[in-house]
Amino acid sequence: MSVFSSATSIFAAAASDESFQPSDWLFENVWIVPAIMLASFVYILLFGKTFPGKDRVHFVGLTAISAALAISLLTAFTWITQYEGEQGDHSAQTSAFVDPSIVTAVDADEEGDKAKDSSRGCLAESNVVGDLRASDDEYALGSLLLNDIGSAELAVDAGEDGKGAGHIKAKPVVRCLEWFSTGSFGGESATGDTLKFHIGTIADGQSIMMLVVVTFISFLVHLYSTEYVKGDRRYVHYYAFLSLFTASMLFMVLSSSTLQLIVGWELVGVCSFGLIGHWWEEKPNSDAALKAFLTNRVGDIGLLVGMIVLFFGAGQTFDIQTINYLAVHGGLSQTTMTVAALCLMTAVMSKSGQFILHTWLPDAMAGPTPVSALIHAATMVVAGVYMIGRLYPVFWFGMSIEGSPINALAFVGALTVVGGGALAFVQNDVKKVLAYSTVSQLGYMVLALGVGAYTAGMFHLFTHAFFKACLFLGAGALSHACHHSFDMKAEMGGLRKRMPVTFATFMIGTLALVGVFPFAGFWSKDEILVGTGGFPSTNANGNYTLLLIMGLIGAAMTAGYMTRVIWLVFFGEYRGHVDPHDPPPVMKYPLIILAGLSVVTGFLNFPADWFGGLGSRFGLKFEQWVEPPRGDTFPVITHGDSNFLLAVIASAVGVASAALVWTYYQKLYAKDPSATEVTEGLRSKNKLAAGGYALLENKYYLDDLYQGGIADPMKGPIARAAYWLNQNVIDEVVNTAGRTSAMLGRFVYRYIDQGAIDGSVNLSGTSASESGGLLRKVQTGRVRNYASLMFGAAALLAAVFILAI
């Protein structure tokens, strides 16, 4: 204990942000939000079919999600108010440093006492474990070293940067209850120590931000779906799954232990399975659902193993705050963290659609469009990103992010940005383009976290949720109008005038996605590029120059493929056969709201040195609200300095790319108004281009590899071989053993028992007649035969006598 706490107190004071402990009834009881959604699910499941007029079952879901949204917004509001209030107080009192080893709720009222005890219990106990760990010399040494570096970093940070100075950060509010306990593991623990497993909630900037995003998008999707899925064959199931999905997503977001996180993680996976396969009568849909689930399961191997490694590394606890605390304070060995981070990265790759496990995500578009917006763009797919953020210290140290030019996580992210973006160019289905765009944008988030730009990653998650939901719902509106088709080439074109509202909102979403000033995506993408530290004088955590370049290429691609979509859908001539028009109000208003948010959310985190004095006063709010205090349960990361030149370059690259694509289509249009691609293009002239196109068209052949190289052999030859082995080798051994013993039995019976033993006593009774089988042949009944035998025998005897005598 002594080594541990002294290490903390010496260095933590120097390295950490100043922090305060927010407290509110809401923070300790955020579990209400998922509970409401769960209740809604159970209600719909049990009574949905008998609900008065089952077409109105959405009322249940809508009511629940409205309540959840209201509570989430209130929680966020309280969080912000307390934070801002504290800043005011802070100027009066100088130090608000609290013992970092106790990260717990401070309860105002008596009712909260229980909560206080349990949360103290939850963490205090695991800190004891941490002490045991840290008292080990090796760990203590690690702790000293790490803190040394940390403090040196911060000295620079605080001295030159000045960002974050004067702010005191809000600590997470953790509340846990004992879930269950079991006997512990070998060694001394076999003496009867028990392992306690906790279930609980963490309310901090990150989770509250996510809470708002999930409930908000979910609310709009609930609303939108009332029209979009109207009259569907499984309306009730649809709403039940929506509720369950929201509940499990929130459960995951709020989880205070990694075990709970796994539970939530898998539950959202199942909801995704159910919703992708919503129209399961058609085989492609259920295939897509299976693919999504199985690909995620592959990643889950990493999740399970990674969490197990962390569990033991942190002294047998699943508690997220303890793990983070130990990681920051050197309680986890480097190997543990590296192995865990790599394993968890696999999970992120599958869940958040990172290259090379992204292949399920585009297929997941088989589900209803609002679901695609909710699950496969805005919320569930960012679960992986969220998980990295939740266990950021593990990744930070495990991947050695600081001061490095490259690491696995960031590289995977960057590769996804480029790889996903390239694929978006060859899609004809508007939803597929958006799906690949999502893949690419998720790559940005992972890239950001991989280079240490935590806030930028989270901020991009936040803004992306709004503009991508806006785009997806817009695509839904297009399909709603165009005969339930998503084919840009066959069914759309020139919709600008026919569907003005859809056009306007889609356009805003696109601008935000592309990252045009001042739309939301501009700010978040810019921060990510800054965060790579590849650009001169950005002073970020590392020097990820290569990744900065990949990020810029990604920005250019984004602009390119989105321009293509815009042109194909809204410009040129209408190529469809119906009369498309704007959707009804319940579908229109969500679009408008989301478009509005796509414009403004970026300003939540504009850099401090922009807009003169405004920046230092209102800039970087998102960072202040969301980022946890550094040095306690969060690594001491550095925030890059925003760079005007980089922002200009990024925008210029995007504009140039967009202009190029635009010119291409303009020329095409001039030649033939209804054309969607050049007939005699580069592809037919240049082999390389043709090859590249084929590569993209076939999605880098990854699907073929997985299907042909893994899934099919598994299902086919390998499974059959195993079964053949079973039937013809293992079972055959059994059968042969059985047959052999049966044969042996017959042999013994016939020759030994009946032949020898019984035969030797055949003088008596029936056994004699049985055994006389051989003699029977002699016994012909003919006197002559007997006589000849008798005489023969007599002659024989006579001969014997003669010879013997």
Partner: protein
Amino acid sequence: MTEFLNDWGITVLVFLPLVGALLMMFIPAKDEESHKLIALLTTVATALVGIALFSEFDFDRTADLQFDVNTSWISVVNANYHVAIDGMSLPLIALTLLVVPLVIIYSWNHIPDPGNAKMFLMLILVLHTGMLGSFVAQDIVLFFVFFEVVLLPMYFMIGVWGGPDRLYASIKFFLYTLFGSALMLVAFLALYWNTGSQTFDMQELASLVAERDIPLGTQVLIFGGMFLGFGIKVPMFPFHTWLPDAHTQAPTQGSVILAAVLLKLGTYGFVRIAIPILPEAAVEWAPWIGLLAVIGIIYGALGCLAQTDMKRLIAFSSVAHMGYVMLGIATLTPFGINAAIFGMVAHGLITGMLFFIAGSVKDRYHTLEIKRLGGLLVQAPKMGWILGFCTMASLGLPGLAGFWGEFPAILAAYNPADGVSTSLFRVYMVIAAIGTVFAAGYLLWLLQRTAFGTPSDEFADDPEITDMNMTEWIAWTPFLVLIVLFGFVPGIIFDITDGAVVESLKTLAR
């Protein structure tokens, strides 16, 4: 009341079903309704006795043997009638008490060909006694007797009411298990002689083995005998081949009981007898058990992928699932064995449920060939969703019971007991984790091919294909509720088993 329960509770619990069976002997076979009624009432009464016992059970000291009755039985060999309940056996007893009445309810209108409800139900009752007896026995001779009592009714159930290949399957089941039991008996006797032939009592044997200083080689051999006996029952790879045949041919009720309870006799034997009595040998055997367990996980999954028959697929999945249970046991840690017991209960509920569904599908479609099925969700939506739910539970979805048997076992493999190779078990851990993908693969593939899609022309307008009926609802609902309940509140089982498990591993710590 308490006194009565203390002295007679367990005895009544175990032999009440037998009394019911005796009563049924005197009623003519034609009167099927009263047979069903008597069987149901008997099992419900047994369950009530069980509930009374559980309510008197002291959950604060689950490590102790409670309602302990120990009287002389075969005094010549010092075998006693020693029965008791502790935290380790309680969940399994509860499972048995739950499953059997529900099976009888299900039988109400599902008596398999060639009929004869009287004999069928009597056999189930005899089976009931055998299973309960095995779980309460604290004396290995008594355990052995009950262990064998179970065999015969099951043999007849498969052999008489089974499918077309029933004779082969039933004889294979009987002989294979008997073969294992024979070696087990040898092991028991070896134990008896080596400890000075004073007792067959499990607890006394455990302390005697520790005192007597029996050579490790001998212990390992004795453990080997038990390993074969229990391992065949589990069944572990490569002794599993009786299982798919037995399951495929058995009537639905037989399959359910087989999956839900009988297989657990093997794993229960490991945690109750083999490991506590021979801890040192267990450490020697653990890497091999672990190896066979993980082979079983992958192998069972591959076997599933190759199946064309729904019931056979579910049977093969048992091999994989019991692999997780055995992996948990092989770690020899309290956590792993807790997980294993949880896994036993979870597997009992989930696979039992899957067999129920397979039986009901067979009733409606008269086939279980996966190729011919499809669109169950269209024709019988409720049953289809329940199938979906059960496949999800079976593939170890968190929030449902299956997860708590699977994940903790994988977790435990990261850090096995002292003396067991850690690095080896970490390899096992990764293989077991990969096994979860396979599990998802074959189960969802099954779901896709049977429930999703549209029904084939063959069955499209078949009036016999109806959704769930009343008896199915009554029989299945408790399963479904418990799967969810255990999934969210795993503490229910962990809290009960933990004390007893820790206690049973004390011999290991010495």
